[in-house]
Amino acid sequence: MDFRFEDVDGIRRSLAGANYLADDGIAGIVYLADRLGKPILVEGPAGTGKTQLAQSVAEITGARLVRLQCYEGLDESKALYEWNYKKQLLRIQASGDDSDWSEIEDDLFSEEFLLTRPLLEAIRAEDPVLLLVDEVDRLEVETEALLLEILSEYQVSIPELGTVTAAQVPMVFLTSNATRELSEALKRRCLYLHIDYPDLEREREIVMAKVPGVDANLADQVARIVRSIRQLDLKKSPSVSETLDWARTLVLLGIDKVDAQSATDTANILLKYRTDIDKAVKEFADRPDDLVVDNDT
């Protein structure tokens, strides 16, 4: 079996080339997943680039991204495969009276009448693919079992057809926001990667890479302020994507140095709860009394 990546550093470099700044852990685990041929379960707070990681890895390996968005009520026929009933019915009607039933029956359950859904599609693909199963935690516990066969054996069993085995082992990413505990069986089959909020340096670099027209000073300030805000006890800490939105806003407003006033005015981009905004503003405001007057005038 040949591998996609040479070494950990190479991954980090090419991911950086695709505008995704990976830290040691991320690059190392992607490398390991490739070597061991195992799926990666990516968990972490919302907006820290879990899905983006899968997309970037697809980009650097030149693989086609096959995406399965999970939701409550997702079932076999939407995730794996389905028989094309209408077409089957047509086939029966078209055959007339004289044909042999067993022949029709064989014919009905052939690949021609099979509708592939994302999981099967990823397995059957001839070209390199990357399977992304997004927000796995939205599935019900029972439906999770759908994934198990694919994740460990890279195959799908279809009762009428037999087992479809993957031509090549695709890279598989699963993402989860940890709204519920995933089953042991699923976790056991995956490598586990927890992506947390980035540290100061990485966040600064991310801002630099993703926001056009931002200068180093502003990026540094943005990263520092966001880090301080994350230390507060908030309902929802600002995510990386919100940091980026904020940085973009500041650039658009032509602010090159954040002070308490501009931070207060734009806090609603970073934080989404009234109580959180109040808390942050209180922490960072110059002299709270003066501020109120400023706002009024």
């Binding site: 950990v8 040691d24 852990g25 190392g28 685990i29 490398y31 390991l32 070597r35 061991l36 195992k38 990666i40 379960l41 968990e43 972490g44 409550e72 019900e140 940890a178 709204t179 519920r180 505990e181 042991e184 976790k187 056991r188 089959r189 995956c190 490598l191 586990y192 990667l193 927890h194 100061l200 300030q221 520092r224 302020i225 880090r227 301080s228 230390q231 006890d233 309902k235 954040v258 002070d259 308490a260 931070a263 709860y273 109580t275 922490e283 960072f284 405001a285 110059d286 002299r287």
Partner: protein
């Protein structure tokens, strides 16, 4: 085989490298001892993973092991501690030389920073404490990692006073080192320096940011010191012994009554995701759970299309009963933390109940439902309960009998057939009258009465604990010492 005998990392990590595999299996046994659920497959994965990652690259090695063995982020801390113990002696930059002499370690603190005298640690041992403090200040100011590491070592050598074979835990040494460094003073010093450096006055925002930055660096320094102490202890006592002493319970296993301040902070962090997961799970259960009773009329109507045969039974919409909850919590010192967490959890999922009322007591009793109404921050409300509720009657020692008496007198008529009463406390009554007849009366009127006791079952009914007497009037008495047990109980409740 003792691990400390192996100096220097093995080249690569091939399959034939049995010492590594031995070490790894010892490591995994220790992880299981610490409570992490490591399955056999995961074990095998880890074994395979290390053949691809050289052990010399310690960070990559750690992540490789972590990704195969730890599948829950809240277990990461425990994993890290065990990892440090088992693998801290490996990797060049971490090698420990000449510890016993009390000389400065000959580790290489990287390229010497400008202004620092000759990077080598040996030179440092000649410094006066003042010079050392100054260097520390400078290193923190510039965020010089290599220098900080060297200084951390030096500080441990100098201040911790470690003696081989002395049966003292790492925290003791840590405390001694930190006391001598006076890091709070250092932080203020750094802030002063930053103020001086900047051309104009720092705005509060800037000051705040600077302070966060420096605190962060000081935190790093502390971690370096801690790691250094740990390395030395491992060198002294061997891996297995250290792993045992450093073993930390997972957040969900931390005992409410004996949690350290740090563990408390972890618990507080853990309760948020826990309540969210619990709420989602309960809501789902409710939605998918069961079918309602048979809808006879509807079934007959649908039977018409089958020629009068009721082939397709129809069911009424399920209307699962939502219990009404009354929480009566002892918030005296010994069990306060437990009451806090339980209240937090109950209110976080209050949507699952038709009504939640809460009462707190020590020897007097007060209703605190109002604190939670219309409040977004449950944590804040719980805090108010602890500070504002009027719960002291005579002397501020738990008196369950009197508290029940007040409850019965003032709120007894509100207890109805839909009410589930939950009593929280250790039932240590300080030898007052038990008044358990009140609980009996409550049980008669209420749907259910549960008692949650944060003490280990073995301590029940010892000393002034009279939980046995009360529990005869309860539907269930549960030992709830940690988040795991609490979660299990709450789920059962709904």
């Amino acid at each position: 085989m003792t691990v400390t005998e192996q100096t220097g990392p093995p080249t690569g990590g091939g399959r034939e490298d049995t010492p590594l595999l031995d070490l790894l299996s010892g490591f995994i046994v220790e992880l299981r001892q610490a409570g992490l659920p490591v399955s056999l497959t995961e074990n095998l994965d880890a074994m395979e993973a290390v053949t691809h990652i050289p052990i010399a690259d310690r960070d990559a090695f750690k992540y490789a092991l972590g990704s195969t063995l730890v599948k829950n982020h809240s277990h990461w801390r425990s994993f890290e501690v065990v990892f440090e113990v088992y693998f801290s002696m490996r990797g060049d930059e971490y090698r420990l030389d000449e510890v016993a002499e009390g000389e400065g370690p000959e580790g290489e603190p990287g390229p010497p920073a400008e202004g620092a005298p000759q990077g080598g640690g040996g030179a440092m041992s000649g410094l006066t404490p003042e010079q050392l403090a100054e260097m520390l200040m400078k290193a923190l100011m510039n965020g010089d990692q290599a220098m900080l590491r060297a200084l951390a070592r030096q500080a441990v050598v100098r201040y911790a006073g470690m003696e081989p074979g002395r049966p003292v835990g790492g925290t003791y040494y840590l405390y001694r080192t930190l006391r001598n460094l006076d890091l709070d003073g250092v932080l203020e010093g750094l802030m002063d320096a930053a103020r001086e450096e900047s051309p104009e006055d720092l705005t509060p925002l800037e000051e705040r940011l600077e302070r966060d930055e420096f605190s962060d660096r000081i935190e790093q320094l502390k971690q370096e010191i801690e790691a250094e102490i740990r390395r030395r202890l491992v060198a002294d006592r061997g891996v297995e012994a250290m792993a045992r002493t450093l073993r930390k319970p997972l957040p969900e296993d931390v005992d409410f009554m004996h949690a350290s301040r740090e563990e408390m902070a972890d618990l507080k962090k853990a309760i948020h995701p826990l309540t969210r997961k619990l709420a989602v799970r309960l809501a789902r259960k409710r939605r998918h759970g069961r079918k309602g009773p048979l809808d006879f009329r509807n079934t007959i109507r649908h039977s018409l299309s089958y020629g009068g045969v009721p082939a397709e039974p129809k069911f009424r919409f399920p209307r699962p009963a939502k219990p009404e909850i009354m929480v009566v919590a002892d918030i005296s010192g010994s069990v306060a933390a437990f009451a806090r967490f339980t209240l937090h959890l109950v209110y976080a999922i209050s949507g699952q109940f038709s009504k939640v009322r809460s009462f707190v007591f020590i020897d007097g009793l007060d209703e605190v439902t109002g604190f939670f109404e219309g409040v977004e921050e449950i944590g804040e409300a719980v805090h108010r309960v602890n500070t504002e509720a009027d719960v002291v009657w005579v002397d501020g020692h738990s008196d369950y009998g009197h508290a029940f008496g007040v409850f019965w007198e003032r709120f007894g008529r509100d207890v109805g057939p839909k009410t589930t009463v939950i009593v929280l406390g250790d039932a240590r009554n300080n030898y007052h009258a038990s008044q358990s007849w009140i609980l009996k009366e409550i049980q008669h009127k209420a749907r259910r009465v549960y008692w949650l006791n944060p003490e280990p079952r073995a301590y029940w009914d010892t000393g002034d604990s009279i939980v046995g007497e009360y529990s005869t009037h309860c539907e269930g008495t549960f030992e709830v010492r940690n988040l795991r047990q609490l979660e299990a109980f709450v789920e059962k409740l709904v």
